[in-house]
Symmetry: C2
Subunit: 305 residues, 2 copies
DNA sequence: AATCATTATGAATTCTATTCATTAAAGTAT
DNA sequence: ATACTTTAATGAATAGAATTCATAATGATT
């Protein structure tokens, strides 16, 4: 009999195109998934993934099962929501604060989806950006904040969301495009275009430039497209998440390079008061983030706290 | 995470109203189901079945999950059928022969359902009744026969379907209604109303009357309703499956008694040529019988060969 | 050709579901 | 009421299957 976990594995394989990456996502080893897949294929006597391609692609049978998996996941979630209904545990408010501008890109669809499923939860976005967003939880001005540093504080519960790579973006004819990857010194004589937030909240400063004592000129813009326009017209460099960039890179609008030879990676957490962490709509919101992000954003990775 | 097997358990509990009976149906012990149920309830922090009633009834949360279970079962079966499609393994013919008249009552709905799902399988009913129905398989005049004796012959594969109780049916004012159960001798001066088939194919004769040397007068009728009419108008007794009787008994049209103090039980098997037993539409047909019978017929029981 | 990355495989292990052996509880009958 | 029967619950022991580990095979990349 096929089980939920098998379907989850197939979904991961489809979304990551690799057993190794899938394994991380479902918190098992690559070997486990290989065995699982083999068992499924033996059971159905049908190939489910084509191993001769990179990334792995599902056969039509595999695709059919993934379709089934999505359908079942939806149905299960709906049913599970409904059986909690009498408990009136799904009434409440969820004020969300974010630290990084780019998060808007995926947060909006998540919120829209969530609103449909949890009509009795008042969803709000806390406006403005805050130097110590966790403070918003203590002072009861927000119920959930998306942050990129796990400072593991008293009474706060952190849930890992995903990890993504920040790429240095530059005009196509920029001299630095000859490099394979950039290092701190490469930024000395450049202008950095960032969102209008304190430097401590910008990973590139916090993890690369400030430790090396490099402090390039800075210019700010509110919107991602605005930043990209400035970059394209040679006003400077920017550091942006790879998943927000793929379209622009594919069309050759700008170029991107790794920052450091391992790349500059950023972890995203959802932080809530520990007293809220068991509320079912809070957990639903967090898993909703993961689900839609892993499904729609390319090349993001799961991680453990 | 909830798994398919948990949903199957809930379906069984709903359909049987008891953990003990459910356990037989899913081929586990009562203890296993009790643990399973507890785990599910702990997981959801919601009661799923009301233990204070007999038969067990599901709470609204339990019912919701059973609804989910049916939906998922459908979806899984559809998907599994579709992924086999390229294999052209689902083309073929299935000529069905039956030994007992009453089987018609449940076979028709099963066939209708099956026809919808396996359009490329030619379904036929082999007409007439045959003293050695397995011969029909050897001589290629039928592909699947429903029989009540497992003679375990060479090259034939038997699949247990279900077990049901045969009750003696009599007019409401019949003197034998005073008995708790009937024994062979009670039939001596009675007229038996049966389907028009050889006595060797009638369980009451084969298992009770012939062994005791009792041979009452016999009268035949083609249809179950006709038999019941004769019984109601005091023309004799009949032995019929309990599940075909519940309606008539509830309305007080006739009375029924056990045959022997343990009751007279009959086992039903599906027999196919071993060479056909792995064909997916054959397996689908057999599991379709079980599914609809367990869902719609009351008080039938699973059994193992 | 050599190296790097990914998947496959068989044996060992771990972990969880199930069974076993009882107890507790509920329902029937005396 | 009381015994008797049936059914469910429980905790410990067990069995079995899924996962990991260690390594080989395969395929991609330089």
């Amino acid at each position: 009999m096929i089980e939920m976990r098998h379907l989850a594995t197939l979904v991961a394989i489809k979304e990551t195109g690799s057993l190794t990456r899938s394994a991380k996502r479902v918190h098992l080893t690559q070997s486990a998934l290989s065995h699982q897949l083999k068992r499924m294929e033996d059971y159905y006597r049908v190939m489910l993934v084509d191993r001769h391609t990179h990334p792995l692609v599902l056969t039509s049978a595999g695709e059919r099962l993934v379709k089934l998996a999505y359908l079942i996941r939806e149905a299960v979630e709906t049913a599970e929501r409904e059986i909690q209904q009498d408990n009136s545990k799904n009434k409440g408010k969820l004020r969300i604060a974010i630290e990084c501008h780019t998060c808007f890109d995926w947060l909006m669809p998540v919120m829209d989806d969530f609103r449909g499923h949890w009509p009795d939860v008042e969803l709000d976005l806390v406006s403005g950006f805050h130097s110590h967003p966790v403070e918003l939880l203590y002072s009861d001005r927000a119920d959930l904040v998306i942050i990129s540093e796990n400072t593991s504080q008293e009474g706060i519960s952190f849930s890992p969301l995903f990890r993504f790579e920040l790429l240095a973006v530059m005009a196509n004819d920029h001299p630095l495009t000859t490099r394979k990857h950039l290092v701190a010194d490469d930024f000395v004589h450049e202008t950095l275009i960032t969102y209008p937030v304190p430097v401590e909240q910008i990973d590139l400063y916090r993890k690369v430039l400030l430790p090396s004592g490099v402090n390039p000129e800075r210019r700010t813009a509110e919107l991602t497209i605005a930043i990209l326009q400035l970059v394209a017209s040679r006003r400077g460099l920017a550091a942006l998440p790879n998943w927000g960039l793929t379209n622009y890179l594919d069309y050759g609008y700008v170029s991107a390079r790794k920052i450091g030879h391992l790349g500059l990676w950023s972890d995203l957490y959802a932080a809530v008061l520990s007293s809220d962490s068991q509320k079912n709509y809070v957990q639903a919101f967090i898993s909703s983030i993961q689900q839609t992000c892993f499904k729609t954003l390319e090349d993001i990775e799961p991680f453990d706290s």
